[in-house]
Point group: C2
Amino acid sequence: MNSEYLLKEPAQERSRQTVQALIEATELILVEDGWDKITTNHVAERAGVSIGTLYQYFANKEALIGLLLEQYIEEQFTELATRLADAVSFDMTLQEAVPHIIHAMLEAKMVRPELSRALFTQAPYFGQVELLDAWNSQAEPMVSAALAARASEVRDMDTDMAAYILNNAMHGIIHATVLSRPELLDSKELADEICELVLRYLQA
Amino acid sequence: MNSEYLLKEPAQERSRQTVQALIEATELILVEDGWDKITTNHVAERAGVSIGTLYQYFANKEALIGLLLEQYIEEQFTELATRLADAVSFDMTLQEAVPHIIHAMLEAKMVRPELSRALFTQAPYFGQVELLDAWNSQAEPMVSAALAARASEVRDMDTDMAAYILNNAMHGIIHATVLSRPELLDSKELADEICELVLRYLQA
DNA sequence: TGTGAATGTGAGCAATTGCTCAGGTTTTGG
DNA sequence: CCAAAACCTGAGCAATTGCTCACATTCACA
């Protein structure tokens, strides 16, 4: 718990569950009924909680969605980080490491796919651009640093620009796939082709 | 005029202008005040038209946005098609043609950038996935065919898959740039790097 | 010039929204 | 045990929403 989106920190276990119930109700309504069915009254009712209680922890409707998003993005990020830590080590060659990374990213997107999809199809991006920026401001330097560290294996390049390109190209592909071709997400064909794109871009 | 989003076809010039005024008011409100300020009353008022008139041509709020989107996407598409027809011919090599195409796509995105941005940051994707699919169902076969026609210049590949990858990778980059780094849109650096990505992916 | 079709009006309704507040219940800690 | 803090309740208000309908105006054209 603890977030800029919370009006006050729940101190007891009871209230911590209340807040979580509210977030889960928000998610459920978003996934099942869509963005414009998310109303404070509706969320409170679905969470089995009074509307007054909702307003003790959330300043307004936006805060509710803000916290849901924050949690989702953090989950995605740690999900990815875990898989990377498991599968990638520095004695791998670039040709070995890239497929693992691609695979990890595709797998991360398959966690809670309904929420992934709902977020992208239903949510107005209002206020989310900053969150995407926040994601990129974490991911891009990591990629850039990784590329710099492997300078001997890749062509001479502006690693910041390359990280920007790779990051957004991959997101574009994955994003489109989640939306329109979810069945492709765990296909070897797609993963292989993304690897091709990335490796060819990097190779000397 | 004439669209599935129109409740009835405006027959006289007067009503054609009314419908256009409503669409423009919708766009103005979206760009200036944001998605959730688009209310039928508000749109009608801003268009200088009675609310009753609005409901003679549009079944509901969604139709209003639907038509705006339809017009925007068509505009983007013809914009791109024109630039491509102007700049790309078949006696160009792949290395010559690709930069022109990239340039055309970046330039197309710079038309009505405020609307581009507003659409992506403000609009719930509800009902837009189909429109993106529609775009892709036009663009992907074109790219795929172009690749097939240049089979001698590119590596052996599944041209459908390659078109899918390239299309969405490019959109991912351009999309992110419109949102967070609009000043990069007409930079040579970005265009060059995208060319590098595409050409390296295609080359034998 | 007259008549029907096309177009336009706007007060206002039924429903919904975000949110408040005065007061009740539960938990904590001394 | 008890008081203060933490937590919870839900009726209901002010504002807004999408939308209707009875009626007025303008147009095409015979």
